[in-house]
Amino acid sequence: MAASDAQRPWSLRESYLFDRSVIAEIQRAAGEGIYDIRGFGAKRRLPHFDDLLFLGASISRYPLEGYRERCDTDVVLGTRFALEPLRLRIPVTIAGMSFGALSAPAKEALGRGASEVGTSTTTGDGGMTPEEREHSTILVYQVLPSRYGMNPDDLRKADAVEVVVGQGAKPGGGGMLLGHKISDRVAEMRDLPQGIDQRSACRHPDWTGPDDLEIKIGELREITDWKKPIFVKVGATRTYYDVQLAVKAGADVIVVDGMQGGTAATQDVFIEHVGIPTLPAVRLAVDALQELDMHRKVQLIVSGGIRSGADVAKALALGADAVSIGTAALIAMGDNSPEYEDEYRKIGSSAGYYDDWQAGRDPAGISTQEDELAARFDPVLGGRRIANYLRVLTLETQTLARACGKSHVHNLEPEDLVALTVEAAAMARVPLAGTDWIPGTNGR
């Protein structure tokens, strides 16, 4: 067994370049001959909302009284074209996660929790389950390249439609649900044999590029009689252009997923090295909308690394209309809980480190299709935990908004923010704290 840090002589120096994780990965790669596929999102340090701070009200601004003065949190999505926009009570939604990647009880819990606090959940690659529809008051139905489980009946049953172009964990990549997670039910929903690896295509089968996308959105509107809001989801890369093209293509709502966004199964090299962080992506998306005079007309949902009300408030202050959570929702339901430490150890992981969501052996019964493991997870309790967590996110967001004197969380603005680092100041385009310096603006 390796010596602990305390036992190791100080004369031993670990390489920064070849640290123990790098050495372990090289040795694993040499032994197995295949790249590392895992779940979770980017684990490296990235510029993020932690690098921003709010300027609370003082003499020049007055704050609102906590617990007394209203600070509203409602958001309406799909006001541009849809006859039936979504009306959410809070600006935090549940991101798309498939039945297949997650167990049926976990999907049910997401629906229960979101519905309790008046927000939406989203299907995923693999279609809509009846349990999910039943327990989600507001359900967004994803149209993905694989079209697994895609059918017009579910499209009409949905409250909104999300055309998925990409996701933050792997912009430009498809997916792979490994054979050991393909139960009979998952196989049937996806029209494939049980036990084989199910590849999800990286491109849509019937459209390519922005001009086609406009026609595709037109078809989806015709099929749903123009009732449902149409979202377009992109992984954050060339965000400024992608957002403008999505607006041009007729989207009601644009979802931008930064590179910290989670995944059920993606190559580690993809997760850590493709895409841009959520922080610059919000700024670029809002720039694109403002230039087209479509900010607040086409709503913007931002995801990728949202953990707390501080993250929510900062995303809103930069101009998002709402945020989405995925990884944090799984953690709220019990993923990586110390309660299962012994079992994490048995499968070579540890609570706080577990990222093998692709493997289907989740001790918490969330990212699995094994009945025995899934049965451990109580969807009622899980739903309660999701609702609790969403309430905390909302209360924290309101706390920060009131401190800045805002009676609606959407009234937060970039002017309420400063940056702690030069990088964050440049990316979010807010001044470095204590200065009026925004790198890259006004020729400075």
């Binding site: 079209r147 017009p152 792979m176 084989i196 089968p205 019937d206 086609d212 015709e222």
Partner: protein, 255 residues
């Protein structure tokens, strides 16, 4: 594509008989030169609720419009007199849609059931991800015909372009002419029949023996497509070698 219009729906042949209380026999004629597409599709979507409802529809002057007769969910016959754009008869259920012209990209994409027939040629991705029903193209179909098909039957009297049957999961694709490059690339369990030449086969797609059961299957499919003139024995059968079903590093060069 606009949602609203001040113009009225122009409907002809109103002298039709009423059959029982549910259907009329005469065709409802909708002229897309004067009637917005939205009104046509809305009426077709609401058709089951109309009493009595028209069983037969004729659409004239489509002029390449997109999304004509998409999302249908009733046993109606829709005949379109002219060329259509993208996604004609998309996600079709139960209806019979006939295009007396050519069809653009994504013809009958994700169709669930019913029948879609095109007299002319079809552009890319005809029958993409279709889950059921029958799609017949009397001319040629371009690239990616039957891409990711999940149970639909497709019969093409002419030839198909490259990457047809790409990642095809289930259903049957019958090509009476030739197939372009990379036929059936990364195919799963769909069955492909080609009468003419195949430029190349895609990854994991191989020729398989044509046995009696396959000839019977072909005869049945050609019969349903009203293309009885072809001899099933002239076709060759292609399907998955199933070597790429579970990722193995030794196969990395095959992808």
């Amino acid at each position: 594509m606009g949602a609203g219009s001040g113009r009225r729906l122009r409907v002809g042949a109103s002298e039709g008989l009423t059959v029982g209380a549910a259907e009329t026999t005469a065709a409802e004629v909708v002229d897309l030169a004067v009637t917005p597409l939205r009104e046509l599709n809305q009426r077709l979507h609401d058709v089951a609720r109309e009493r009595p409802h028209p069983r037969r529809w004729r659409v004239v002057n489509p002029n390449g419009a997109h999304a004509v007769a998409c999302g249908l969910d009733a046993e109606v016959d829709v005949e379109i007199e002219g060329h259509v754009g993208y996604y004609c008869a998309g996600m079709n259920k139960m209806a019979t849609v006939r295009v007396r012209g050519n069809a653009g990209t994504g013809l009958a994409e994700n169709m669930m059931s019913g029948t879609v027939v095109v007299d002319g040629n079809a552009s890319q991705s005809a029958g993409a991800t279709g889950r059921g029903g029958l799609l017949v193209v009397h001319g040629d179909a371009a690239a990616r015909c039957g891409i990711s098909m999940k149970g639909v039957d497709i019969v093409v009297k002419g030839s198909v372009g490259h990457l047809s049957g790409f990642m095809a999961q289930a259903g049957r694709l019958v090509v009476c002419g030739d197939a372009g490059e990379a036929l059936g690339d990364s195919i799963y369990e769909a069955r492909l029949y080609v009468r003419g030449d195949v430029a190349t086969l895609g990854a994991d797609c191989v020729e398989k023996p044509l046995r009696d059961e396959h000839r019977a299957e072909l005869r049945e499919l050609l019969g349903r497509a009203a293309l009885d003139g072809f001899d099933p024995a002239e076709f060759r059968r292609y399907g998955s070698a199933r070597t790429l079903y579970n990722f193995k590093v030794d196969n990395a060069g095959a992808y």
